[in-house]
Amino acid sequence: MSGKTELSSELSRDLSLFHITMMGLGMMIGAGVFIGIGNGVAHAGPGGVLLTFALNGVLAMFTAMSYAELSSAIPRAGGAYNFARLGFGRGTSFVAGWMEWFASSVAGSLYAVTFAIYLVRFVSIILGLKLTGTPLLVTEKTVALVVAAFFIYINYRGASETGRVGAFFTLGQTLFLVLIGAVGLIVVARDPSRLQNFSPFMPNGWGKLLCTMGITYVAFEGYEVIAQAGDEAVDARRNLPKAMIYSVVIVTFTYVAVAFASLVAVKTGVAGVNIPAWEWIGQFGARGFGEAVSRLMPAGNFWLTLAVIFASTSALNATIYSATRASYALGRDHMLPPVFATISGKTQTPWVALVATGVIVSVVATLLPTKDVASSASIMFLFLFFLVNICVIKIRRNMGDELTYGFLMPLFPLLPVLAIVCQAVLAVWLVHMSPIAWIVAPVWILSGLLVYRFYSRSRVKATEHEIFVLEEEEAPVRGDEYRIMVALANPDTALSLVRNTYAICAAKNAGVELLHMVPVPDQVPLADAERYMVAGKEAIGETMLYLAPQFPSSSTIRYCRNVARGIVSAVREKGTDLLIMGWQGRTVSRGFTLGSTLDPVVERVPCNVVIFKDCGDKKFRRVLVPVAGGPNAVFALEMAGVLADKNEGKVVAFTIKHPKAAEWFDVEGLVKSHAERLLPRDRIEIKSIVHDDVVTAILQEAENEDAGYDMVAMGCSLEPFIRQVGRDSIPQAVARLCTKPMVMAKSSAGIRSWISKWI
């Protein structure tokens, strides 16, 4: 964290919505659509190719929504790397960035070679100039290197130049494709009999659709490059998601129109076409699109070649940009040597990352067989998208309240789940296309893991979202020890919270971990956080004096940007069995039930939770426990028994039957079946009443002076905090309205706690 070694790393913000949309389109409209149409028609037939692009468009839109949501909340260079860093931590994010860098670089080399092949073809065949004296392959490789070097220079000149040049090329190719689509419609309007080319619609069956979707999905992966522009886009929170959505919808409609035009371009029985048009186009495979379009308009071959050159260059430009930003982000966070984050003082671009990317692009373009390596890149892109779709669920769930979103997807989490399933199917399909790719991809990932293990792990720079340990005092821990963590917030109430903890520690023979999280405001550098920890030290010191003589006790003071996430993180890290917290009894944050810290903690921690409200240093002779079944009610009964006075304390299990309900809840059965965890039966009373309002009944019973309750203990079943807006469950309503000391207990035995333990 020392300021002296920090490198200045800030990119200039000058990419408009138009620029970044064009960058996304540029990466999408590459070789995929030109090669995909011919192959698609051959495999899936005339209708199948239309459906391929339309359905891929929907699938791409699902993932684009995930990218859009995350980019709007985390608008920084790095794309999937940043999302994984926040969602899963350092190791996974490094692998994500590592894959992203390689995949984009290799895709760039592929586009450089494609450009070279078509340029040489354009010069030698269409313009009629003969290239003599040099083998064709050497010429193509040389041209590929020159064009790669040109676009590396363009990227070096700056984001604005990158965007402008890329936008120029992309606009050219997009307009050309739109023109093809328009000509196709005109041709059909003049000669409707060409619609017969769509019959039979799916000659090879619907099963082939999945294959063609796999081939052409590469033509939709442009949102990654848009996400990389997070540091350089104007009004990034608004423009990044817009650019992603616009680019997907534009390419989807364009591709469908172009595929339609290709199919109506050929007329059976005319100019040597003696078989159905779709078979004729399909027999050319990857060249099928070109052969069809050359019949659609005058000088079609010329225009098509020009379009492929445009497409290759814009895709090359976008992939170099994307790969550079991925390695820049790794350098920025010291996962790769920090020199990768060096910004040119003149052009404000990450020139070292650019040079490194240029080396990979050049080496792969000239030396390696690109087909299989490109398939590896596709697999890595699919892995990335897979990861991003998981990230969007995890990040909204864990950090939805502290991030500032510029966009939120609809139907959450249905869309990312659908995308995950579909992408898994497509990735598996790629095994059949290139088995070597399934060797290259794991080797690259493995090498990344080694780099992380032996270089990055010890050097990585913490981000502002991570949590740091300021002070830690560890007590020896037995392997089987029940671990209780007490989260202390306020020095004034710390001691009373710990006194209530005492009984639980004794009952469980537990070790205690005292935790104090120091929230540091966003405006303050984390390095200056120490001045915020005085109050926490005071609280920890006092409570340690009280607990340490009796129980193995440890203490930790950490600083963080968000207390809730800090506590959840500490619980996971320490393997805590029970978390104890205090609640002041009121909520100042709008939309929260117990508060902006307690709500997310109760929802997310994968352990038992006990929350004390106004319990102080009191004796509890009669404890009211409303029960209606479930693990939380049993846990509340158990805690009530632990906290009740050892000699004369009694627990009242209280159940309410609605007048319209047919049966009473079987409290007796519940008590019997958990007898080993509860007080002896003679110290548990059972009380049942009929009432039409459960909350009112509980509150009336709690305040009943004849019954003489000292405390209310309740199962705490908070709704996921993101969904609870405007609603109040029974425990929440009682917690807010009850004037008696109260304990809320949440058990980790539920399915949601189990899931959160493992995810």
Binding site: G47, M65, P200, F201, P241, I245, V249, V256, G406
Partner: protein, 62 residues
């Protein structure tokens, strides 16, 4: 095509056209919804997921 097979609307064509247009409509609808949401979030200066969900829920948009 002398048997005029191409003139007939086979079940494949009917189902295919429905799927095709449905996919395009879903795509366009998601795009329009997304654009509207982005503008709404920016105009109302909403920030956290909670605030946005609350706002969209209130309007019946989510």
């Amino acid at each position: 095509m002398n048997d005029r097979e191409g003139d007939r609307m086979t079940p494949d064509i009917i189902v295919g056209c429905i799927v095709l247009f449905a996919a395009l409509i879903v795509n366009a609808a998601l795009a329009l919804w997304g654009r509207r949401t982005i503008e709404k979030i920016a105009d109302k200066q909403l920030g956290s997921a909670r605030d946005i969900v609350q706002e969209l829920d209130a309007k019946g948009d989510s």
